[in-house]
């Protein structure tokens, strides 16, 4: 079977070509068949290859398939080849698996859209690019996929181009990603310059000799690559495009802007873990940026009222976790969280899509409420997703998040401060997610009657993927249970061959020696679960119970229920002291830091360029004599330079 590896990305490409070339000429069922079928075949192939890989002995689990030599010139050699190893195997399963479910979901979600064919064309192109990205055996091919997914993201954000906000959001995503790509490209050039190859296997083998571990060049290289990752994976300061990207269709948000594409940065860093292991400084920067992004985005998420924006900030925050994991050299934990996050975040987005479907595209959660009884399947799946993301023990999110927190605390590269940041983020996450649940599904029904009369559960093509994803969100984490629970961490063993080379590169001894402190691990785990539960409780107080308390208080003004009143005062005080400031702080971060500072900075760059362009244009007066004068000035300068030389 392994000789068919190349078919995994090629199949969606074929789907893209057929749908793209015959756009507008084939009926919808055929589009659906081609669009979903190609991804389904990829998924089947990925699964069989995965099992084949699993059957191999652990240290020979690497299949490299070189299709043809792309460029050879002198010592410069790049092949068009795919690399299947434990890491890319996980990635292709996530991409094709979640991708397939979202394709199916889209059939129901987009069924009324006039751009149905175009949508599936883009989606298949995206799947192709993403698979190329993760299967590439060298940086150059990876960059091809990297640019491809960026392009598809741009096309799909602006899918409803008649909306100005959608077109603007697409543009913003594009510009921000350019900044990231800039870093990636330069970093790639430096790697090539020093190592003489772009092939991952070669780099892993030769980088320790080519770079001085801990030297400034390797740090610069890693940081440049990290700039690329921050752009694609929406980290500080390049995260501003992701919340705006929610202008695209919801399945797109689920697939591209939550489950797969935005994790490409994490994947890239894990892929080049050898390089990062050689630069502790770069790792530290990655960890700091990751931790800060996690808490920063979670804080902003507290005060958002658009259901998709809450989920978007939550995505940014969760990606921060993954980078935190990478930064403390717990690459396995990062990939593990990447996988579980793909399940539950895709689930959450698709469920929110189902909500929007029911709510006639109303996104404001203040105008929802009480949806539980109208769309029960959506509610239950959404709840499962929420429980998973908050890290309720037993669900997938718990295992991955817990591992990251523990590594942040205990790893050689970790620090208790990282743990505290992650810990607080976990609490904030639980709070805003349950706020979302309560405001959307519980409490009074705040929508208008028109919308209310249209409330309905989504069709089967949408609910079935939801149910499957819910199952994955529950069980997906069981492959990576921590040692202290007495289980075997299959996931860690699976990825071990990929990480071994990185550790060998720096010759560290005791990265895995963390299990020695089981008591500490237990207590940290209990603490974080406790915080999550408290946060959920607080959210319940404020977004579910409080309104009832308030009405009760209004009815019984007479003073008989002073106790109740007093309790209410306690709530009030609690709110005034803790919740209100937090919300205001959140609004401050969002309105000032995000929108004004970072956004403004990026827009400012654009404005500066535009103004520069405008003023430079004035030089071009249209008069030949002016041109001749510039010309003569150039001559004078040039002769002067040559005279000196």
């Amino acid at each position: 079977m392994t000789e068919y590896l190349y078919l995994i990305p090629i199949l969606p490409l074929v789907g893209f070509l057929i749908n793209g070339l015959l756009i507008g000429r084939i009926p919808r069922p055929v589009i659906t068949l081609i669009g979903c079928g190609s991804v389904a075949l990829s998924l089947a192939l990925s699964l069989s290859l995965f099992f084949e890989l699993k059957a191999l002995p652990a240290d020979s689990r690497m299949i490299e398939q070189v299709l043809f030599t792309w460029i050879v010139s002198g010592n410069f050699h790049v092949s068009m080849g795919f690399l299947l190893d434990p890491l890319s195997a996980v990635m292709i399963l996530v991409v094709t698996g979640v991708g397939f479910l979202i394709h199916v979901y889209s059939v129901g979600y987009m069924h009324k859209d006039p751009g149905y064919g175009r949508y599936f064309t883009y989606l298949n192109l995206f799947t192709f690019s993403m698979l190329t990205l993760v299967l590439a055996d060298n940086f150059l091919l990876m960059f091809v996929g990297w640019e491809g997914v960026g392009l598809c993201s741009y096309l799909l954000i602006g899918f409803w181009y008649h909306k100005k906000s959608a077109a603007d959001a697409g543009k913003k995503a594009f510009i921000v990603n350019r900044i990231g790509d800039f870093g990636f490209l330069i970093g790639m050039f430096i790697v090539f310059w020093q190592v003489g190859s772009l092939n991952f296997v070669d780099i892993n083998a030769m980088a320790p000799a080519a770079f001085i571990a801990g030297g400034s060049l390797i740090t610069i290289t890693c940081l440049l690559l990290f700039v690329g990752a921050t752009g694609k994976s929406a980290q500080i300061p390049l995260f501003v495009w992701l919340p705006d990207a929610m202008e695209g269709p919801t399945p797109v948000s689920a697939l591209i802007h939550a489950a797969t594409m935005v994790t490409a940065g994490v994947y890239m860093i894990v892929r080049s873990n050898v390089l990062y292991m050689m630069s502790p400084d770069a790792l530290f920067v990655v960890a700091v940026v990751g931790a800060l992004t996690a808490i920063f985005a979670a804080t902003i998420g507290l005060a958002q009222n658009d259901i998709k924006r809450v989920l978007a900030y939550s995505t940014v925050s969760q990606l921060g976790y993954m980078f935190l994991a990478c930064g403390v050299a717990a690459f396995t934990a990062g990939i593990f969280h990447l996988m579980t996050h793909a399940f539950f975040k895709a689930l959450l987005f698709l469920a929110s899509g189902s909500v929007l479907h029911a709510m006639s595209d109303e996104k404001d959660i203040r105008k929802m409420g009480g949806l539980k009884k109208y769309i029960p399947i959506t509610y239950w799946t959404f709840l499962i997703g929420t429980l998973a993301i908050t890290g309720i023990p037993g669900l997938s999110g718990f295992f991955s998040k817990d591992e990251i927190l523990w590594k942040a605390f205990s790893s050689d590269y970790g620090h208790p401060v990282f743990w505290v940041l992650g810990f607080v983020t976990a609490g904030l996450t639980a709070f805003y997610m349950f706020r979302l649940v309560y405001l959307t599904f519980h409490g009074p029904e705040r929508m208008d009657d028109e919308t209310k009369s249209h409330l309905h559960e989504s069709p089967k093509s949408m609910t079935v993927p939801l149910i499957i994803l819910a199952a994955l969100a529950i069980a997906g984490g069981w492959v990576g249970m921590p040692h202290i629970l007495g289980a075997t961490n299959y996931f860690e063993h699976w990825l071990e061959p990929v990480m071994a080379s990185g550790r060998n590169a720096v010759d560290t001894h005791a990265l895995m020696s963390t299990s020695s402190n089981a008591g500490m691990e237990w207590s940290l785990m209990v603490a974080s679960v406790g915080l999550v539960l408290i946060s959920i409780f607080v959210a319940r107080m404020f977004y579910n119970k409080k309104p009832e308390l308030a009405t009760a208080w209004q009815k019984k003004m007479s003073g008989l229920h002073k106790l109740l009143l007093n309790k209410y005062y306690i709530d009030e005080i609690y709110g005034a002291v803790i919740v209100r400031p937090t919300v205001y702080f959140s609004l401050f971060l969002w309105k000032v830091v995000d929108v004004v500072l970072i956004d403004g900075l990026i827009n400012g760059v654009a404005v500066v360029y535009n103004d520069l362009s405008e003023s430079l244009r004035q030089v071009q007066t249209g008069r030949v004599r002016t041109y001749a004068t510039w010309f003569a000035v150039g001559v004078v300068v040039l002769i002067a330079v040559f005279m000196r030389g």
Partner: protein, 198 residues
């Protein structure tokens, strides 16, 4: 002051004077005449430098043919002095233009001064009397038809394209393109392309 020097000074002054007057005339006819004057001065310098033949060609071809062409065009278009020359550029921009040109002159003359006396063969850069064949018709012709044969042939191509180009640009409009009607232009390819040669 030797005779050589006197001739040099006078003809150099004539050349520079003619050139300067040429660019400041408002009447193009006067400009042409001043340029001819300058060329005559230059031709004398050519002869002094031993390029008698090329100097003669300069007068005959350049003044005799090319500048007459200029005159011819000026007359044909009936350009009076300063018909529509608008307002002069602002002083600052004029200053910049003079300044830049001066810089070019200063740079190049500095280079010439610095290189004075360098080299070996005809050292000190002094014009010495060369053998008689230097600059004669015969030796120029020998060069042109041996080493410079290929470039010489190439000039014929250049002249050909100049003729074709001048004709295609300056010819009067043919009947099919006279009225600038865009609608008409959409028609089939068939065109009377060959009419209307003046």
């Amino acid at each position: 002051m030797s005779l050589d020097l006197a001739i040099f000074v006078i003809s150099a002054l004539v050349a520079v004077f003619g050139a300067t007057m040429m660019i400041f005339q408002r009447n193009p006819v006067a400009s042409v005449l001043y340029l001819i004057l300058s060329l005559v001065g230059q031709a004398v310098l050519y002869v002094q430098l031993g390029a008698a033949f090329v100097g003669a060609v300069l007068i005959i071809v350049y003044s005799g043919a090319i500048l007459v062409l200029f005159l011819f065009v000026i007359m044909m278009l009936n350009l009076r002095s300063s018909a529509d020359l608008g307002e002069p550029s602002p002083p600052v921009s004029r200053f910049v233009k003079y300044f830049v040109s001066c810089l070019i002159f200063l740079e190049l003359s500095f280079i010439i001064r610095e290189s004075l006396g360098a080299g070996s063969t005809t050292s000190a850069g002094i014009v010495t009397m060369a053998d008689d064949s230097f600059g004669s018709v015969e030796s120029v012709a020998t060069l042109l038809f041996t080493r410079y044969l290929y470039p010489f042939e190439l000039t014929s191509v250049l002249l050909l394209s100049a003729i074709v180009g001048a004709v295609i640009i300056a010819r009067r409009a043919t009947e099919d393109e006279l009225p600038p009607q865009p609608e008409k232009a959409v028609g089939p390819i068939s065109q009377k392309t060959n009419e209307g040669q003046e």
